[in-house]
């Protein structure tokens, strides 16, 4: 099974691991994210980059959890990486050089949560528009605060 191989081989790169409904979860620090992901891709065949998103825990000290999902076609298994990131410096290495689908996903996570992806030069807003202030999916952003572009009629 690929999960035991991953746990054994990549021992030093992650801190904690547990099982979530049949899917291996690795919790790791932001520094060794790039190393872990490149080894996962090359040695264990996790070639499909599924998803990157973030979770906002306003009360917790490392406020954000950047969550990655990968899928390995050869072993038919999924894996989830969780990277706790502090609020003042929410920086994570960008995976643009490893996966093409990371471009759009990282742009979305950047504009929705304010996660900085170092190494991704093109972090323009993708779901929102130029001139949108703030990160709407954070828990402290009020739901109905609209920032209209077009001036309303009288």
């Amino acid at each position: 099974m690929v999960y035991e191989a991953v746990i054994r081989e990549l021992g030093g790169l992650y801190d904690r691991t547990w099982d979530s409904f049949g899917m291996l979860v690795l919790e790791l620090r932001a520094e060794n994210l790039f190393a872990l992901v490149s080894r996962l891709r090359d040695e264990f065949g996790f070639r499909l980059f599924l998803d990157v998103t973030a979770i906002d825990y306003p009360q917790r000290s490392p406020r954000f959890d950047v969550v990655y999902h990968f899928y390995s076609r050869d072993h038919n298994r999924r894996i989830r990486l969780k990277v706790p990131v502090p609020e003042d410096r929410p920086e994570v290495a960008s995976l643009v050089s490893l996966y093409g689908s990371a471009r759009f996903m990282e742009r979305e996570a950047h504009e929705m949560y304010g996660i900085e992806f170092t190494g991704n030069a093109d972090l323009r807003p993708i779901l929102l528009y130029e001139g949108f202030v703030g990160h709407p999916l954070r828990k402290d952003y009020p739901m109905e605060m609209e920032q209209p572009i077009v001036t309303y009629r009288k």
Partner: protein
């Protein structure tokens, strides 16, 4: 003077009759109502029976702007620009709950109804509306068109221009 009144109403009715049966819609389709627009303009429920099915995909050749689906704040300037570039006389149909009032998306991303940025002539309720209610809305719009006034002679009162 009564003859002149009679003549002008006949003239307005004639112009209204010509216009209401040759509506060229510009389907400004964005979301799920677009599936209903495809259903209403194809064989089973046919808007062509009312002369309103030949979609013109440029605002220059269309006179009915059907705003079909949710208009988000990123889409609002696009809608405003398409409306401005339409030739007179033009009418606007808010197709579906999202175009009418933002639907059940009450959040930072969705424009709460297109009448905040452009004047709307007819609202179609439903999410997505059933084809029958779309055809009913087109018939109501045609009644509205036929009642409009087209002043030529000085003594007729001027029609307020929709801003």
């Amino acid at each position: 003077m009564a003859m002149m009144e009679y003549m002008t109403t006949k003239k307005d009715e004639l112009v209204g009759w010509i216009r209401k049966f040759s509506l060229f819609p510009y389907p400004f389709v964005t979301a799920c109502c677009g599936m209903e627009f495809m259903a209403v303009s194809s064989t089973l429920y046919d808007t062509d029976r009312f002369g309103a099915a030949l979609p013109r995909f440029t605002p220059r050749q269309s006179d009915l702007l059907m705003v079909v689906g949710t208009v988000s704040h990123k889409e609002a300037p696009i809608l405003k620009r398409v409306y401005d570039q339409m030739c007179e006389p033009k009418w606007v149909m808010a197709f579906g709950a999202c175009a009418t009032s933002g639907g059940f998306y009450r959040n930072y991303a969705v424009l709460q109804g297109i009448d905040k940025i452009i004047p709307v002539d007819i609202y179609v309720p439903g999410c997505p509306p059933r084809p029958e209610s779309v055809i009913d809305a087109i018939m109501m719009l045609q009644d509205k068109i036929s009642r409009e006034r087209h002043p030529i002679f000085p003594f007729e009162e001027q029609q307020p221009v929709k801003t």
